[in-house]
Symmetry: C2
């Protein structure tokens, strides 16, 4: 058996794809061969991985032959087309698009929360929505400690949540330029503004982003009836989403116990000394790995009520890093299998 | 009796004071004489009111002699000192500071909501916090129609909520400059960021701004036990606060009835056709008078749950306009008295 995996990244040139390349390079996964794939439009560029220049090529049905791991971040339509082909070729597919997330046959994984849902054989594994990932990482330890009865959340989502094109639109606006016709633009001017719309509207007035936060949270936490009440809002921040979360827990909150639970939780960094000016913000979280939690407050009216403020890099933990962390679990499992297969 | 009032504005040179001057000029109040007052530091400038140049003078105990109406926006300390003096001189004082808002002897007024609380004789009338005003204007008609059981709110507050100095700090940051030592700065860089702190922290982890939203909402709506769960957040927007509000009502929500109640409500402008891209945003609300409401959504889990998105100009309805609207009620009452006193 070879020393490493053959890995494919589909959508390598996007904002999440580039971050996948970075986080994969920093991971313990040995990579024998890396295929950078894109739609024909994105092909032809060159990117660097662990010191090697690699050309981006157009994806074809043959692209996945011999591939052990495929990371997808090229949108729902590309995932719909290529994920089944890659799995049939024998690859694990970790898909950052929304295409398979709510498919009851597909595991929706946050490694700190539900790693036991990863299947045994190569399959599609869905990477959750960015706003959902950071929320469930903070919620899981509180659910384990107190039980979770109800979730209220208002988001402050960065421009890069809409991809590299969103980041570019904000930068153009901030520089005083007009976003060129044909280029991506937010539903309203984002610079100097906040927009209560992420993704499209559904018939009952929820946005699809809000619906994702409801359904994905329920699925990941395995609480299909959990009431989640989200409002998703775009803010003129380049990278990192912030969330104002109010939880109604299953039992009375003890603030010190909540702190201890969060401090011990994998993936969480508690930064909560507001009197000393310590709480997480987007500028602090951008470029870092943790889900930052602060502003823990016991509610003044309901003993089961808890406020928290959760910030994370939406390109890293909210997308690329979470995907690579799933890949690392698969890599560790392979190493364990290898160990078990030793004489 | 003279044809108009003698009016004093204390703090005329600040962001709210300047807007008071504008909204007073646009009001039906006849002004016989306008005294623009400031602390000695702010004195000496000249401002224009209804075509007349008026010099700003330093406030002294004699400043209020013969004054019928005094508008205060110079901070809590100035209000503490000067408001009792002005009332003793026979003036109505409409005070935009937080100093007297929670004083049980002082009326806290939003004209659309509780005008009946205005006292009969010249007194201090407190003008509520900006975030509170726009929220209660939207809540009052829903409370009248359905009853109000619980309020969850996350704010998106503009830089000018911290006054002209806040606006300037954001502009300096956006222009790439460093805020000079000694100048006002937000607790963190605000450009490209969101800061979960407005005003100072209290011992239980609430900010004073969050506490204001709780207590002032309870007082204005005359619901002293109403649970209000706020998180107040500063965003890099120059003017206009936005609020993501989730209400638990006293009875099942009928969305159409909620729409009708809001459409008929004084001070509210309903802009709610998200499918057509219509919902309020800060850039739309800045410079306008209404409290804009949109994104009405029936909750998917609780028949008594209602989401709404509320945006208003924090310098106008959130401060100066509300104060001048209170003054207009006093002016109307005086006219009615005059009419009654006719032979």
């Amino acid at each position: 058996m070879s020393a490493g995996w053959s890995v494919a990244i589909l959508g390598a040139t996007g904002a999440v794809g580039r971050t996948m390349l970075e986080t994969l390079a920093d991971s313990p996964i040995a990579v024998r061969e890396l295929r950078l794939l894109a739609t024909p439009r994105g092909a032809g560029r060159t990117m660097t991985f662990r010191g090697n220049e690699i050309s981006v090529t157009a994806v074809t049905p043959e692209s996945f032959a011999g591939v052990e791991l495929a990371l997808f971040s090229a949108g729902a339509a590309a995932s719909e087309t290529w994920a089944p082909i890659a799995v049939r070729a024998g690859a694990w597919v970790i898909d950052n698009s929304s295409r398979f997330r709510m498919d009851p046959e597909v595991a929706l994984i946050v490694p700190e929360v539900n790693p036991h849902r990863i299947p045994d054989e190569p399959a599609i594994i869905a990477n959750p929505n960015c706003s959902t990932i950071q929320m469930v990482v903070a919620l899981a330890p509180l659910h384990a400690r107190f039980g979770l009865a109800e979730v209220f959340v208002a988001t402050y989502q960065s421009a890069s949540g809409a991809g590299g094109k969103g980041l570019q639109a904000l930068e153009t606006e901030l520089a005083g330029g007009a976003v060129e016709p044909g280029s991506y633009r937010f539903p309203r001017r984002l610079a100097g503004n906040v927009i209560p719309q992420c993704d499209v509207f559904l018939s009952d007035g929820y946005t699809r982003e809000e619906e994702k936060m409801v359904h994905e949270t329920q699925k990941i936490l395995d609480l299909p009836e959990l009431p989640v009440h989200p409002t998703c809002v775009r803010v003129p921040v380049p990278v990192a989403h912030s969330e104002a979360i109010y939880l109604r827990l299953g039992s009375a909150v003890n603030l010190e116990s909540a702190r201890i639970a969060l401090q011990a939780a994998p993936g969480v960094r508690l930064l909560d000394d507001p009197g000393a000016g310590e709480y997480p913000t987007a500028d602090l979280a951008a470029g870092t790995d943790p889900v930052w939690v602060g502003r823990l407050r016991a509610d003044r009216y309901d003993p089961r009520g808890l406020h928290l403020w959760v910030v994370s890099d939406n390109l890293r933990k909210g997308a690329a890093l979470n995907a690579v962390q799933i890949a690392c679990l698969l890599w560790d499992r392979r190493s364990a299998d290898l160990t078990r297969s030793l004489p």
